[in-house]
Point group: C2
Chain length 165, copies 2
């Protein structure tokens, strides 16, 4: 991991985590993976980042055991799925403080239909909800990007369900 | 925020959050702020990053309302303190998967002395524990850096208590 060199003095679990997920674009790639994106071309179309950057980030995530490559598809491993609550929490924090238009998507517990709280817990059932039990619903009236992934994400979806537009 | 330019296509709360906390070093600066570090010279000594980088990161965090500057000290705002569970979760994730020696610090709920679970909740009392109710305890036998902040952090401390070595 390239970033490791810069954090070398930091004997800290957070520094180790940031070597993996702290690279520019990496958390947005993982967000897309939670949304069900699996193919290189779909990440590319949805994120609009340079091809070489995407390629290098995906490779690093595979090497770190966060994604697994099956044929042409990248899938979150168990280790990768554990990042869901932190990612959800950071997104809700960004929304509360830096998004003038409010949320563009909401997240609910599939089992009971209750909207998750900012920590990623279900207020009805208690406890952090794992991503495979989360449904994402777009907020009506928000602009939708014109790539195939954005159009697919304009419908309610269960997290981790493979998205192949 | 400089990073914003790269995430411009991403109308996503997570992209907004990453514009603030996704810059290299920023989450480690915030970790130190939770540990009680407040002075420029103490961040500098503990993190070992270039002075200009620290200066630019602190300024961006003040502009984003994550830190407040009081005289010569930087203090986490309410908005900044909300990042604690995500930061704690990322650190525990790094520890589980990438730290051969196990944790160097453990975190407990001050009220009951119970060790926090990986989500930052108290298994006895339930619910995410806010940082002002968390005590950090170093794990004995782990190497301690030779700067004054590292030596101060080798003793049990309550989070957010000002650390002025």
């Amino acid at each position: 991991m390239a970033l490791g060199k810069d954090y070398r003095g930091q004997d800290c679990a957070l520094a180790r985590a940031l070597e993996i997920v702290g690279e520019r674009w990496t958390l947005l790639i993982l967000r897309d993976a939670f949304y069900g994106v699996r193919r290189f071309s779909d990440f590319l179309a949805h994120l609009g980042l340079p091809r070489a950057v995407l390629s290098s980030r995906l490779q690093a995530l595979v090497e770190a055991g966060v994604l697994a490559k099956h044929g042409c598809e990248y899938e979150l491993t168990e280790r990768g799925r554990e990042l869901w609550p932190a990612l959800h929490m950071l997104a809700r924090w960004g929304e509360r403080h830096f998004s003038a238009d409010g949320p563009s998507r909401v997240f609910e517990h599939v089992a009971c239909g209750t909207r998750l709280d900012p920590s990623g817990s279900c207020p009805s059932c208690g406890g952090i909800v794992p991503p495979e039990e989360v449904r994402m619903l777009p907020v009506p009236g928000r602009p939708v990007g014109d790539d195939p992934v954005s159009r697919a994400l304009a419908e309610p979806r269960r997290l981790l369900d493979p998205l192949r537009p």
